[in-house]
């Protein structure tokens, strides 16, 4: 039952009340009895509507607002289990509507940037839970790419530049966001059902190597972006990293 249905029922009730009142005044008993019957039904209905509240119309929105759930990928699953009362028992039916709503600013960002389509479902969930940290993680992915472009002339897929991006991104995130969140982001990033398993395996292995090396550098107080890149070149040379489609080592390409 939506807002419009409620309006229709209430309008009908008022019309009936008015007719009943008018007939009573005119002492038209038969008609009055007939209308009393309808009136009773409508009274029950109105009482139900009143006690259920503010119920259907505005209160579902309030019910959703009070839950503090924000539109996003986990919204639906959380919304349908928000406790309800008599007045809000049917609000879960509107979860789809509430969860799909996005602010104008958010819509503009999604239209302006190619960030959102670039996220896996798991990443979208993570963004919904930890938006600030996720933005930092996203910024660091750009930083990693820029750093890797200091030793490779282009960004490719499944080659050494790809390994570099993952290794360095993992290292940067370890430093700025901690091991646990970095691991969460990296795993969510690889949680893409449409990506070939071999590519995911490559990325996960290089992510892990990046985190471990950054951890060591941090422990020895030698962490820096340059050190991370140097460690990457060293690890690549020692064949500790996985590259599906090798091109060449940075120094073999006459770089650095």
């Amino acid at each position: 039952m939506d807002d419009w249905d409620i309006c229709k029922v209430q309008a009908l009730w008022f019309i009936h009340c008015a007719i009943a009142g008018f007939l009573m005044l005119k002492n038209q008993v038969v008609c009055y009895c007939y209308n009393m019957f309808n009136l009773k039904t409508l009274y029950i209905l109105q009482a139900f509507l009143l006690c259920c509240g503010d119920s259907f119309a505005g209160s579902c929105e309030e019910w959703f607002k009070k839950s503090k759930i924000k539109p996003g990928p986990v919204c639906m699953s959380e919304c349908v289990v928000i406790p309800t009362k008599m007045a809000t028992f049917s609000c879960a039916l509107d979860c789809k509507k509430f969860c799909s709503e996005r602010s104008i600013g958010e819509q503009l960002i999604f239209n302006l940037t190619d960030i959102y389509p670039n996220l896996t479902t798991a990443e979208r969930e993570l963004v919904a839970i930890e938006p600030k940290k996720s933005i930092i993680a996203y910024r660091l992915s750009h930083r990693a790419e820029h750093l890797c472009l200091t030793i490779y002339p282009s960004s490719d897929t499944n080659d050494e530049s790809d390994a570099c991006r993952h290794y360095v991104w993992a290292g940067l995130m370890f430093k700025e966001l901690g091991s646990e969140f970095a691991q969460k982001v990296l795993n969510a990033h690889e949680n893409d059902s449409k990506a070939p398993e071999i590519e995911k395996a490559m990325d996960l292995a290089n992510n892990r190597a990046g985190i471990l090396r950054a951890e060591q550098l941090e422990k020895n107080k030698k962490y820096s972006e340059d050190a991370l890149i140097e460690e990457f070149i060293k690890a690549l040379g020692e064949k500790q990293l996985i590259v599906i489609r090798p091109k060449s080592l940075p120094n073999e390409r006459g770089i650095k």
Binding site: D114, P117, S141, L149, K194, R253
Partner: protein, 136 residues
């Protein structure tokens, strides 16, 4: 009233220009189809040929591919991989189907790629020739 209309018109134009500028700023450098045609030629696009072609041959098909982009709009990214083969190049993350059409040999060289831009449902919404390496 006429003045008010002019103000609205100017604001709309300014808004549109800012919006286009913002998109281009965030996305990085792209190349128009006519420029791509001048630079790499206008060989007719064929999915099978593209799949097994070298970067140079892919480049020569880029303009034709973009001119006929309607056939790809709305397709899922996994369909693009099936049709055109494994990705090369890179844009933002591994989610976007990208195909290098001009690789760089050394740092400072230009590298270009075809990028299939996706919407929030991972369906192709546009195809652009994009400068590999540069986006904000």
């Amino acid at each position: 009233m006429k003045k008010f209309k002019n103000v609205i018109l100017v604001l709309t134009l300014l808004g549109t220009a800012s919006y286009i500028y913002a998109i281009n700023y965030v996305r990085g450098e792209t190349m128009s189809v006519s420029k791509a045609e001048k630079k790499w030629g206008k060989r007719e696009f064929g999915a099978e040929q593209f799949k097994s072609a070298s970067e140079a041959n892919r480049a020569s098909m880029a303009a034709s591919l973009i001119r006929n982009k309607k056939q790809f709009i709305g397709k899922d990214r996994s369909e693009i991989r099936k049709l055109l083969g494994d990705y090369s190049g890179h844009y933002v993350s591994g989610m976007f189907p990208t195909y290098l059409i001009q690789d760089a040999i050394k740092i400072g060289d230009e590298a270009w790629q075809i990028v299939f831009l996706l919407d929030a449902d991972e369906k192709v919404k546009d195809i652009v020739v994009h400068k590999n390496c540069c986006y904000n």
